[in-house]
């Protein structure tokens, strides 16, 4: 069996008296899409924020690409290649596609021995186009501000940005929320493409059809615990709902 990309061992995170994540262990392997399911307050967001460096776990450890990792800040996780796409996408709506793909990491041209540095717009435009094409995303113009794009197109920009910056694990929080049906399909298509390129994806979602449409495996959390972990092909909607509401719990059976 291949080594997991991400390996979470006995992770616990408390907020005061509340145990948000309780002794969860979980592996994510290269080239798979795993869905993370659970009702509101089940602890999925907290778990993910521990992985992406927003929170620091109280107990347990996180290994990324075989190395024990401590992320003090989100930037630490990103530098390692863990990209998280939240629902608000972290796009500057007033800037264009290429500016957003390079946001915070702008390419520069140097003059006078680096004394004067200007933005290398051409290079950023070229690279952005290539990044989008590699995901088969087509835009009429890359110099349009983000606010003139549709929700699906914005998702595409956020995904393309993560891929361009060499994401080795992609975490997506409810990527199809607020999208129309055709746009949802496009986003799911993008997730499949990511997998085909070998990038593992963790998909946090409430939308069960999405889970069945793209994921290879899934994990369900309830009240901070991992209640089950299955291959997607080995389960069905009704069963998942029962796990989510607590009618089924693999940990109890054991």
């Amino acid at each position: 069996m291949t080594e997991p990309v991400l390996s979470i061992r006995k992770l616990t995170k408390r907020f005061g008296g509340l145990v948000a994540v309780d002794d969860v262990s979980w592996d994510v392997y290269p080239g798979e899409v795993v869905a993370l399911l659970g009702d509101n307050g089940a602890g999925k967001s907290t778990l993910i924020k521990c992985v992406s460096g927003v929170y620091q776990p109280d107990e347990g450890e996180i290994c990324f690409e075989g190395r024990l990792s401590h992320f003090a800040r989100p930037m630490d996780a990103r530098r390692q290649g863990i990209e998280t796409i939240y629902q608000d996408l972290a796009l500057a709506n007033n800037l264009d596609v290429s500016a957003n793909i390079f946001l915070g990491r702008e390419a520069k041209k140097r003059y006078l021995a680096g004394l004067i540095r200007t933005l290398d717009e051409q290079m950023m435009l070229r690279e952005s186009r290539a990044a989008l094409e590699s995901l088969a995303i087509q835009f009429p113009s890359l110099t349009q501000p983000i606010e003139s794009l549709s929700g699906g197109q914005r998702q595409a920009v956020a995904i393309a940005r993560a891929v361009y910056w060499d994401a080795r694990l992609m975490i997506m929080d409810e990527p199809t929320n607020n999208l129309g049906v055709p746009e949802q399909h496009k986003v799911l298509e993008l997730i499949r493409k990511l997998r085909d390129q070998g990038v593992p994806v963790i998909l946090i979602t409430h939308t069960l059809p999405d889970v069945f449409a793209v994921s290879d495996r899934l994990m369900v959390m309830r009240r901070g615990h991992k209640v089950t972990e299955k291959r997607t092909t080995e389960t069905h909607t009704e069963e998942l709902v029962q796990y989510m509401v607590g009618a089924l719990d693999d940990t109890r059976v054991q």
Partner: protein, 384 residues
Amino acid sequence: MARVEMKAVAEMAPAAQTLTPPKRFVLALSRSWAWAFLALMIVFFVVTVPIVSFGAVNFLTVRNSQNILVAITPILLLGLGQTFVIIAAGIDLSVGWVMSLASVLSALAIRAVFNAGLPLFPSVVVGFLAAVAGAGVVGFVNGVIIAKLKVPAFIVTLGSSFIVRGVALLMSENTTVIGLPPGIRAYGNDALVYFIRGEAGGLHFLAAPEVSGELLRRMDRILPYPVVLTAIIVAIAIFVLRKTQFGRHTYAIGGNVEAAIRTGIPVDRHIISLYILSSATAGIAGFLSTLRFTAGSAVIGDALLLSSIAAVIIGGVSLFGGAGSVMGTVIGALIIAVLTTGLVMLNVEAFWQFIVVGVVVIVAVLIDQSRDLIIGRATRGPPT
């Protein structure tokens, strides 16, 4: 943000592609109306000023154009840093008082070092450094409190403006610092080029020709030093905002500060730099006024804050951040200055100027909003 997101979902397709011709027209108008308004205003004065004076006076003269350019320098310098700050969704209410403080500081510095035996030009340089450094300290403190302690910019800069005012009055003792070397007047008022109209005239560079009487009346000063210095600073500001990472980050912070933080932009440091920049340009304005009036004044900039913000808004900078340009602010300042000079030349009651400026400010915001309504916020962003 959420509202915008929903709207975009409803539309699905990029809004800009579905514009009807009338909407395209509104869009074009909204982008260039300030230019058009300025042009119309100049045409108006070019036509009316000779009528009112029975043909004796023209509006579009070399001297008048230079007067207007000199008049916009303080408004423009205050508005310049403000443009950056407002694009990043902040505001700096302290600039007017910082200008006053810088005027006092530069006057005290020039007087001290000149009296200590330093030659005139180095003394003026010391005055410049004192003004910019003193102002910069205020901007640094503003920026740190805003960025690190997360106090709203409005409150921080309002508070600091009182402090700055008090310090300026204390340091100046009598509100004016006098006893400066009279020679500094040249730096604040002399010009690059002198032109004497008429047969005996011609161009003279750098030094004013020794003339008197009637010839003196026919001599125009073209590109006075404060205008030259301000123009250089404006050019740098345009370059920085449009062509550099600093400018890009300024727009990004104004557009979505969360995104800026998450993409690793050093937001706190950037915000501190912006307030230092804003104070520094106000400091230069204070320095120039000290040279211009050969005295430091603790109240020189008090009245200028609102004019400078008006110029910024007329120029199309959104108070919500994320949009605007330096050229817009230049146009805004020009509109205000052309109005003042034009109305005085028409001998119109001075109060009309305020009414017109007020109307123009509101119209500027209305046009900005109608643009958003018509095309769903599809057009704002840095000039491309």
